[in-house]
């Protein structure tokens, strides 16, 4: 009987071990990052940046409204960026945009460049996009920033 109990205990622990291994294997078999969607890094298309729901919404809005002037190429071909003076920053340009606060970005998208003493070529989108949509675009900007955006404490 004692032998039998030991055998059972061994069998049980083996089953447990197997279950744990299976659990781990299942977790490892997922090939891509656990995220809602991804955006290729603009400087290195092989690297995918994981995006959450809000950032994905920002991504969609970016490719609808902003890409024409804030990227080097657009879904329709070359970008309008080179036509403009001053040249608008690329949206993933962390060196420029990481230094700006969320409030500043929200303001310039909402009220346009002219209201903030910047280029009037940046039109105001406050009446076109909702507050949540503008927040989503900012979330996307932060996600794709190169060098990566580090949120300041207290943000």
């Amino acid at each position: 009987m004692k032998n039998r109990l030991a055998m059972l205990a061994l069998l049980f622990s083996l089953t447990l071990l197997l279950a744990v291994i299976r659990e781990n294997a299942a977790a490892q078999s997922a090939p891509r990052p656990k995220s809602y969607a991804t955006e290729p890094d603009w400087n290195d298309p092989q690297r995918l940046i994981p995006l959450n729901f809000q950032q994905v919404r920002g991504q969609r809005l970016f490719y609808q409204y902003c890409v024409w002037c804030h990227a080097d190429s657009t879904p329709a071909g070359p970008s309008n960026r080179s036509n403009l003076n001053p040249v608008p920053p690329l949206l993933n340009d962390g060196a420029v945009l990481n230094g700006k606060s969320d409030e500043f970005l929200r303001d310039i998208i909402t009220r346009g460049g002219r209201a903030l003493g910047k280029s009037a070529m940046m039109p105001p989108y406050g009446d076109t996009l909702t507050r949540e949509e503008i927040q989503a675009v900012i979330a996307f900007v932060r996600a794709v920033a190169q060098p990566a955006f580090q949120p300041v404490a207290g943000h």
Partner: protein, 685 residues
């Protein structure tokens, strides 16, 4: 563990042998119970504010996810970051309260253990939906496309585009206007050799080593590859080449034109010039090789024409171009008004230049079909389900030839047959394996071979997962947002021309029609009559960045005028009142103020160009004074999104005076003066 999960699986009749078995297993039971209790206690400790489980009879949801995933509204930025347990998606307008988690994320909400709630291996009946297919859940209720679900929308589009609806029942997927070409008279169009090659491998040509090259047809054909054996191929070709209705009469060109053109050395070049001027490439792509790289240039509404000269019968071509609907009533190709000269040079160009002598290389010599072959071919045609998409004489359309997929998204893994496939035993892996190679899970599958990119596979999986059938969760039906059926029915002469030139193939009318070109729902309010007539006669490009242009239909003055009038009368926007703006009141001073606003205050030139200067995001405005109505310009400046929802022109807060000044300025931008000068004199700056 298995025993613990399914204590009810002991058959009732084995009661006598149950006791000794129970005694043997008792320690295991006790251990499991202890572990379970311990696990739950640990989970409860993690959750700082334990919330009550959710039971929503309306949504058929009962779950205790909140035990481990506390919801703390409003979400902190840390919660918004991915991979954070307890995250709330605040932008989804359905907040977690009352809805719970499993309605969208699935999983076994009533499970007491983490693994059983989440992992497909441990919860085969109700696996958690992987995050990358989450959009499938939006599709449970939203049958119309949502802007935030591009992956789902793409999947639904592909289910329609690749004619999955031809064989499978898929609820809520649009049935295409045309599933596959009508084969009633196919033998008059192509040769048996071409049919052999197409049926063997519709996708590409194979090179000497048997590798697939994309040097033949570059576009992904909608026709999949049916794995046919050599004799099956020959029988099917025999049957198809027996489908010859009335023979195609060679078109007789005007002998004077033939005599004048026949010997000109640049006949094919003239034809190519005409082919380009008529913008055939707006719908039909051509492979173009530049700097060693071959690319497809052109739209994808019609078939690729790079090698069509080696495909179709030379007598069939002019007959088709003159009147496609006479040969194939459901064709979406417009009926162009051809001059004999144009038709002659264009057909010569196609048969001389758009060819490939090697197209039919490797096709064996096909003997004249025997009646037996034809009979067997016809049987095979039905057995392979060809009649699901193609019309053939004496055959009814085969409906639901394949299994219904309307509830595949809720299928339990235990009902799926994985065969010998080395894939995870879960629904999404099954779907992807089946779509990638149908034989991998079932070596005797009838489903033909498709080729999808990995992104498209994900999209298709998402769309299929969104179809859980009515029975799976009848509660969902109550909150379903149905798709609005779109329709546009013109009347009278407008209907005749609309049908002849197939306006709806590219343009949208009140939500109905193609998406290749501008939405024309409000064109009658936007464009001036004379401009419309000129444009229909000779379409110009309006946006500098666009490559595709409207083809030249060679329509008569009378037809153009009729269409312009019909558009002006019927396609009107209720918010654009033509009487609200009177161009006679515009003064040169207003126009000068408008010019200043345009160039300085609002810097419109960042996106619009006039002449050579300016950006090219918006339309070119050099001729806007002849093009758009003043009422439309004023309404557009006031609120662009009211006229074009989702339009990218930002809405600004302009005063009525500013709107008037800008309209006055834009109306002065004309490339030629109108025939009867009605606008303010001295407008040109």
């Amino acid at each position: 563990m298995e025993t613990m999960r399914n204590p009810h699986t002991f058959p009732a009749s084995s009661r006598i042998s149950f006791r000794p078995r129970f005694r043997r297993l008792a320690p295991a039971f006790l251990c499991c119970a202890a572990l379970l209790l311990f696990g739950q206690a640990a989970g409860a400790q993690e959750a700082s504010a334990p919330a009550s489980p959710i039971w929503s009879p309306q949504l058929n949801a009962a779950e205790r996810c909140v035990t481990c995933h506390p919801q703390v509204p409003p979400p902190s930025p840390a919660q918004l970051a991915f991979q954070q347990p307890g995250r709330v998606d605040p932008l989804v307008p359905h907040h977690g309260k009352g809805w719970g988690c499993t309605v969208c994320h699935r999983g076994a909400g009533d499970a007491a253990q983490k693994g059983q709630a989440h992992q497909p291996a441990l919860a085969p009946a109700q696996p958690l939906l992987p995050a990358r297919y989450l959009q499938a859940s939006c599709g449970l209720c939203h049958r119309a496309d949502l802007p935030d679900t591009p992956q789902l929308n793409r999947g639904r589009f592909l289910l329609s585009e690749f004619r999955c609806v031809g064989c499978h029942r898929l609820d809520g997927i649009e049935r295409p206007y045309l599933l596959g070409p009508d084969l009633t008279e196919i033998a008059g169009k192509v040769s048996p050799e071409w049919l052999y090659k197409w049926l063997k491998e519709p996708r590409t040509l194979l090179d000497d080593s048997g590798n697939v090259t994309v040097s033949g047809y570059q576009m992904e054909p909608r026709m999949p590859r049916f794995r046919l054996k050599e004799d099956e191929l020959r029988n099917l070709v025999a049957y198809l080449s027996s489908l010859r209705g009335k023979p195609v009469e060679p078109y007789v060109f005007d002998p004077k034109i033939v005599a004048a053109l026949q010997n000109s050395p640049d006949l094919a070049d003239q034809g190519e010039a005409r082919f380009r001027q008529m913008f055939c490439t707006t719908c039909h792509p051509l492979a173009v090789t530049r700097a060693g790289e071959t690319k497809l240039i052109g739209g994808d509404l019609g078939p690729e024409l790079t090698k069509v000269g080696s495909k179709v019968n030379p007598d069939w071509l002019p007959a088709w171009l003159r009147n496609p609907q006479a040969l194939f009533p459901k064709s979406k190709m417009p009926r162009y008004e051809w001059s004999d000269q144009d038709l002659f040079v264009v057909t010569r160009f196609i048969t001389a230049k758009l060819t490939d002598p090697d197209l039919l290389q490797g096709v064996p010599k096909l003997d004249a079909p025997t009646p037996d072959q034809i009979r067997l071919g016809r049987r095979l045609f039905l057995r392979k389900g060809c009649a699901s998409c193609h019309a053939a004489p004496g055959m009814k359309l085969q409906e639901e030839f394949g299994p219904a997929l309307a509830s595949l998204g809720a299928e339990s893994v235990s009902h799926l047959h994985f065969g010998d496939a080395k894939i995870p035993r879960d629904l999404t892996a099954y779907m992807q394996a089946k779509l990638t190679d149908p034989l991998s899970v079932n070596p005797t599958a009838d489903m033909p071979q498709y080729h999808f990119s990995s992104a498209d596979l994900e999209a298709l999986t998402t769309a299929l997962l969104s179809m859980t059938g009515a029975s799976a969760n009848s509660a969902i039906e109550r909150v379903t947002v149905p798709r609005k059926p779109a329709e546009f029915q013109p009347t009278g002469e407008f209907a005749r021309l609309y049908e002849r030139y197939k306006c709806y193939a590219c343009h949208q009318f009140n939500g109905y029609g193609g998406t290749l070109a501008t939405d024309l729902s409000w064109e009658g309010s936007r464009a001036q009559r004379q401009w419309l007539i000129d444009f229909l006669k000779n379409p110009q490009t309006l946006r500098p960045s666009l490559v595709l242009r409207m083809p030249q239909f060679n329509m008569t003055d009378q037809e153009a005028a009729l269409l312009a009038d019909a558009i002006g009368q019927t396609l009107r926007h209720p918010a654009v009142d033509p009487a609200a703006v009177d161009p006679a009141k515009f003064t040169p001073l207003m126009a000068a103020q408008g010019k200043q606003l345009y160039e300085e205050k609002y810097q419109c030139q960042s996106c619009h160009s006039i002449g050579s200067g300016g950006g090219y995001v918006g339309p070119e405005l050099s001729n806007v004074g002849n093009w758009m109505t003043p009422a439309w310009i004023a309404a557009w400046l006031k609120d662009p999104q009211a006229l074009l929802p989702g339009g990218i022109e930002p809405r600004r807060t302009l005063s009525p005076d500013e709107i008037q000044a800008l309209t006055a300025y834009l109306m002065t931008l004309r490339q030629k003066e109108p025939a009867a000068p009605a606008a303010a004199a001295g407008a040109e700056k």
